[in-house]
Symmetry: D2
Subunit: 356 residues, 4 copies
């Protein structure tokens, strides 16, 4: 099921970067839940390119919901949302059919599909598919909010510039909403300015930069989740790797925690205001695959965009000839900021499948 995920809330994503449309089907949504289409549109907008920091391709990403909602409420039937692929210039990709772009999926997709893969815009492996992911995530986010579960993320670093971190033991919906209300999902305005500069410099140099996204899921009741194969970490990681640029994920103290002593990394239980919590949150809100009730915190590594205008080297898959390759088209020098809602969406899809 390469394009479906989930057991209770099943999300199926279809389309290619330059097919007539892309979209998502969300099955298993309980009936009678009010869906705010304006909030979905707002969420989609957060993923859209902005003011020179991102790709010049204009993606309005208006979602046409063709099923599953009656009079503004879910009716229990699958929700299908369709996004037309406008503003397409497939001819940009003619040259790449047999000359794979470095660190793109072209090479692998060619062999997987014996050359029948849709090369236009990266086909089914394109970052474009995250628009459908975001639609599905936007619906799941609304479902989760009804249960008091909130998800928010920020760019915790771009290139070598760090944003402030979440206070992992104390995150509120207000904190998350505050970041969403900003023009860019970066806590520190100072860091944002530096990030913008780094992106602009990379762009000027025909290069690209990556970063790290930190995401929090709050409101999960202790005991939510499963041990072994279907834990919170298994499911969130599996969902987040659906975003093409993600190359790593860590929960709580993660890789940093691996060099600590147990006595440093362990989180003592304490009682605070009648609730049992942990004083700090190195476990990232997950114990044995299940929620501890503390915020679930994870960070994921976003690789620098592979589409750069610098001269690179490739090999023609038919002739076997080594060739230079220069990637034209309209590409982001950095997709970290746009990937922030994508990470939230992936997390929401995973978490919704767990709690419903």
């Amino acid at each position: 099921m390469s394009c479906s995920t989930g057991k209770n809330i099943v999300v199926t994503i279809f389309g290619q970067s330059h097919s007539q449309a892309i979209g998502a089907v969300i099955d298993g949504v309980p009936s009678g839940i009010e869906i705010d289409e304006a909030a979905i549109a707002d969420f989609m907008k957060r993923r859209t390119a902005k003011d020179g920091l991102s790709t010049a391709r204009h993606e309005a990403d208006w979602v046409n919901i063709v099923s599953g909602i009656v009079d503004g409420k879910t009716c229990g039937a699958p929700i299908c949302g369709i996004i037309e692929n406008g503003d397409i210039n497939s001819s940009d990709y003619d040259g790449y059919k047999t000359l794979p772009r470095p660190s793109h999926s072209d090479f692998a997709a060619f062999y997987k599909h014996n050359g029948f893969n849709d090369i236009r815009g990266g086909g089914n492996s394109s970052g474009r598919m995250t628009a459908a992911l975001c639609f599905a995530g936007a619906v799941c986010i609304q479902l989760l909010e009804k249960k008091g579960i909130f998800i928010g993320a920020h760019a915790s670093s771009i290139h070598n510039i760090d944003d402030e971190s979440f206070d992992s033991a104390d995150i509120t919906a207000n904190v998350l909403n505050g970041i969403k209300a900003k023009e860019y999902p970066v806590i520190s305005d100072d860091a944002l300015e530096k990030m913008k500069k780094a992106i602009a410099e990379a762009k000027a140099d025909k290069d690209s930069v990556g970063g790290v996204i930190e995401c929090a899921v709050i409101g999960l009741e202790a005991g939510t989740g499963e041990p072994i194969f279907d834990g919170i970490e298994n499911k969130i990681s599996s969902a987040v790797f659906a975003i093409p640029a993600i190359k790593g994920i860590e929960f709580g103290s993660g890789f940093g925690g691996s060099s600590k002593y147990g006595s440093e990394n362990n989180d003592d239980f304490i009682k605070r205001d009648g609730r049992i919590i942990t004083a700090k949150n190195d476990h990232g809100g997950v114990l044995g695959g299940m929620a501890s009730g503390m915020p679930v915190i994870f960070r994921c590594a976003v690789k620098p965009v592979p589409s750069i205008e610098k001269v690179q080297h490739s090999v023609d898959l038919i002739s076997g000839e080594e060739k230079e390759i220069t990637i034209g088209g309209r590409h982001d020098p950095c997709i970290v900021l746009r990937a922030v809602p994508c990470v939230e969406a992936a997390a929401a899809i995973a978490v919704a499948d767990i709690v419903f």
Copy 2:
């Protein structure tokens, strides 16, 4: 399906740390494949405690294969292997029923199961379950080897001591076998000595240490895998988080790559000996969820063992009283070395599901 994973090769793990037995069922294995039970036993032994570096509990982990194999060959029926739980001292755990051990699953499991969870030895969330995972992985490893796919890992760090890294662009079965032939899965003998010392010191201090495991999967043909939800990264990460101590995973340049420029991180294609490869392997062998044909390389973070003999703090789940807790029993000061075959097993289960 919390205890099952996979679509083509379906692995189901059952048991608790102190139940009569644990085991695994492996369904979907093609018929007519020779299974080397001695090799399975050898693999299980790699997970077993050794000479003071690990827990004093003696776990022979002999697997009784009760179905699926006739005259040494798979017959197409599910393979079920059963491991008796001997050498159990459940009374060690009497005290923890309502006093959760810090950074253990006890707390979450209590709420998930309204107190009906099996607290003995950590129940179904115990590291003990990785014995069943290793059995399933050992079978999958044999299946994969028939297809020329080999998996091997090493402790790339313990606490603050680093082992040498794999040469990510050039790993052979010989390299992997060489590490397996060593007493401990560490490339550098010098690093191993320092690691042993760090572990001994932690133990002497009633503390514990964690580390990082680096794993390679070689022999995957370009195009193996899927985009979006069922890619190599999705499936390996999901499987690896079945190991209780894992808190992070990264592929290729991973988190390090997120601060590089695209021009540094991208892997040019070149032609070498008639094959198209990449000169370096920052993409970790995975492009768009699919294999590039280069070694699949990932690293995962192993948290320090939460069971330490130091005084810690907890809260009684019934009385609500804050209490001191000291964990007795027999516990590893470091499970990184033992977790190395577990990571290989998890990767094998994920990869077998992809290639069969």
Copy 3:
């Protein structure tokens, strides 16, 4: 996964009878397969209402394929086909919101969804959804034909009039195509005339009739399928019950065979033209869940259409009052003929999942 089925070829159906659109996503289709859209349109037409025998609602059922096909060939991405719901008169259903139609899904759907179900046209439980099923089936049929597997069905009875049966041990693609080429899928022209008369009489009497559909799948290699839970019978039966009117299914001698002696019902193996076959086919082409290589033969019971214009009795779900109910709108007096391609489609979806 109520609206998805399959493991290798995953079909997801979305929409409601009166939503903006319905459709299907077909995932797992190998790349490079030519898809004949005209053949899909022809297949859809077979399900469409005809000349007074069926409903007056005009359903063009043109499928807009928005993804998965490039230059007439599959590209490996999911195929999504969308069918707009035109010619809708939802006001017909205003009265049924709380007054459930006898033997319709309204009653159950109301309780399942606490009244939030889409009552218009039967919502997600409507026979209308079989248009999406037929689209998915039409694609699967084309995939199967590439492997030499052909599927065809006919109305083996309507009301109390029997068509001729298939010669279960000897069915060819020509036989199946011959039936498809006819205006109605009935082997005997004489039987068809009587069936038409029975339908017309039922209509005149504001009543409806049902029937039985016999379906054959030919070309499956011996050994195709699985024992226990995923056998050919399990999967075909599960798929066929997705058609709302189906209330029974039998393979081979089926219910009739249950009163035979083993010596009568058993099918001896014989050698014919170098192939091992069975002389007769009481086993219906399935042994232990797996194909024997003989035609897979099954029959399914189609209940008479529950929408009839006669006065019936119901109870208002809110007031609890017993009331008379007369169903207006445009309804088929018999859907057996239109259900024939639906049964083929369901079988194709099940079989495609088995053989791919």
Copy 4:
């Protein structure tokens, strides 16, 4: 997943007729539920051969539950039950390795597995596997009873002798228990005597007989289930075909209903004692895949046992030679009575997956 079924309650069956053991793993069972092992043993006994009516092979079918239960209650971990295969005489099957028994799975299994299938006792396709099915079903039955859902069946016909039918609109737990308390699951004592005679005659004639089993599921709340692919009919039919001898299934009026008029077959809603029910139950308790709240009623066709001692004809799969075959060993002349609890078990597995 040929040997697993379910989404919420996942049942995995392993073993072969003559492997060391067979068994089942039941995952997803909520914690804190009391499991009555004596009741499981009683259920298993109902499947066991009795007094000359069935096979001479003595199958004690004692289930060793090795995990998932602590102090008599479920702990949330998967329940694994293991049944040793004693009293095996595999040499009986030496002759069938390449000479397939008519209407057995041997032929198909040989081709599926290129001859590596376990021929002994029918391997993984054997009726023996229903012991594991019954164990899983017995557990599910206990889970369902806690929710007020009861399942019971009887032999509604053997050969050409009919038992009385259930009163489909009015079945109580008492009625079902009354049948279970009898030595054989037949309502009419008179019918039973005739059935015994028919079985004895078939046995004397080295022949076998089949029959029909009628099963009821009571206590499902209206609205339970799903439309389209995961309805009650889809899931029960899929589960019941896991029993090797089943060749057909019908719900409610089933095949008989297909020749009725809509006005006859439709079930009016009425109010009785404050509840909305249907006066009769031709819909078999299922409307649009969902429960109506009336008893779910289905009948399934059991083919006559294919193992008969009469001379039959087969073809050697290696030499291609046509040969006579006479089946020795110890075989039932009729398995309908023993299959009654198997059908209940299959239904329980399907229904438990729906309601949990």
